[in-house]
């Protein structure tokens, strides 16, 4: 592990100043991802800026009913009001990692965690995401866990976050700050598809800090759920997952969000599944049609073709749960 300078600023202004002044600096929050990346030599910052002391760990409800979750709130967050307003978020968080990891992992870090492609994490393998132009070992290797949507010939890794899938389904924004000021980025635009530049992983500029995640006011998020399929019952990344939010009025679906995890380089919105639901009653046939639609245009490889059935299954299960609740 290369050595680095360590600083723990007390204010956001001080933190973004440090990021601006040190082009080789990395932010460290819970450290649950970054520490292993440092240890394995995947990341080699000259400075670590510890953002745990910035007071960004509050949940604040805004006058109109929206809520701001500080970037340093832990993934173990246990706020009954959040659970009522956005069940999909709390379920996705509880389905992620382990209790010990959730006690440290933060919202900001969860969104920006690195891919779990084993070749990315082992420096002896070629990886375009880690070293632009090096090639992609997964294309000729084991791609069982890899993506079936949104890939390119340069990278087929999946984004590993559960929380991000729920946040996408809730039309959340991230609030970011730098020495130039603040801006809001829709979660839908935070992560980038690999295309020809898989190393450009997200829309954040190098010196920007995530300060909070903002969820729109209810009631849309309240009728929602998260279903995750994995290799074992607990403590594993998603092979496929579905975040579903559905608004039913007058017996038919007025509005919905169907987002998938574990199957694409970013949290993946299935507008085809949403289309299949719109204006229809949430019955067996419609749920089946939406689950079919969610798998449309999947581009599989021999190792990961099984994910098509999993996507179908998690979408169907999520919608069935929501029908039973309504």
């Amino acid at each position: 592990m290369r050595t680095f300078d360590y600083t723990s600023p007390r204010t956001v202004d001080e933190a973004v100043r440090l990021l601006a002044d040190h082009p080789g600096a990395d932010v460290i929050a819970g450290g649950t991802d970054l520490v292993t990346l440092l240890r394995d030599g995947i990341r080699t910052p000259t400075h670590l800026v510890d953002v745990n002391g910035l007071g960004l760990d509050e949940v604040s409800w805004q006058p109109g009913g929206a809520v701001r979750i500080g970037a340093l709130c832990r993934n173990a967050i246990d706020d009954p009001a959040l659970g009522r307003a956005y069940p999909v978020l709390v379920k996705a968080l509880r389905a992620g990692a382990s209790p010990q990891i959730r006690n440290r992992a933060t919202f900001g870090g969860n969104l920006l965690q690195s891919v779990r492609c084993p070749y990315f994490r082992l420096p002896e393998f070629a990886c375009n995401r880690r070293t632009p132009g090096a090639g992609c070992a997964a294309l000729h290797g084991d791609s069982r866990h890899h993506a079936i949507f949104g890939t390119s010939e340069n990278c087929i890794a999946v984004h590993p976050s559960d929380c991000a899938v729920a946040l996408l389904a809730l039309d959340a924004h991230v609030l970011v700050q730098s020495t130039r000021g603040t801006r809001r980025i829709p979660v839908a635009e935070l992560h980038r598809l690999p295309g020809r530049t898989p190393h450009e992983e997200h829309a954040l500029r190098r010196d920007e800090l995530i300060t909070a995640v903002e969820l729109p006011a209810g009631p849309f998020g309240a009728h929602s759920t998260y279903v995750k399929a994995r290799d074992r019952a607990s403590f594993a990344f998603a092979l496929a997952s579905a975040a579903a939010v559905v608004a039913v009025r007058g017996g038919v679906v007025r509005r919905s969000r169907i987002c998938l995890g574990g199957v694409a380089p970013k949290p993946w919105r299935s507008t085809a599944a949403e289309e299949a639901l719109r204006g229809r009653p949430l019955d067996d046939a419609v749920i089946e049609a939406a689950a079919d639609a969610a798998t449309r245009d999947a581009q599989t490889r021999p190792d990961n073709a099984y994910k098509v059935d999993l996507v179908h299954g998690v979408v169907r299960q999520a919608l069935t749960e929501l029908r039973e609740q309504s």
């Binding site: 450290g31 649950t32 520490v35 990692a97 382990s98 209790p99 010990q100 002896e124 594993a236």
Partner: protein, 197 residues
Amino acid sequence: MSEGTNRRTVLAGGLTVGAGLAVGSTLARTATAGTTPAPNTRRSVSLVVNGTRRRLEVDPRTSLLDALRDQVGLTGAKKGCDQGACGACTVLLNGRRVLSCLTLAVMHDGDEVTTVEGLASGDRRHPMQQAFMDLDGFQCGFCTSGQIVSAVGLLAEKPDLRRAEIPELMSGNLCRCAAYCNIRDAIATAAGLGEDG
């Protein structure tokens, strides 16, 4: 065997991601791990470990786990995988269970850390330790200190714990010997839960 060779051998046996990647690669990692501190980059950190204030000079790269084991001399927290996948390094940080291999010692100036060594009061075992002994909540014992500390953290998080919730809420602690049923029974007993509690 170099670290690389060893990890490739593991990969050849089938790729797994993240949580699953742990056990095989671990052995290689543990053998070559440890930090070689550069002399002039050390930082002073004050930790309250098991109730005693300890001032340490740490390389900023040192994990909390390595600081506890190599500098404080407490080897109760184990290095099973050094990547967050096994739970053997679980400690309580300001009362909450966390993985000491996934955080840096330098980040914890002023924090309180409890390791398995800090649970007993003198010669009197902590009720969780006693329950693990009474119910055989272990076989080889390597995961046990992490299991016990994690279980103590769990009861603090959830005083209204139900027996059926224990497996999910202890899923961050793997047991290679698979003593899971007895571990669950020990935790249920320490929590005062009956068969259907």
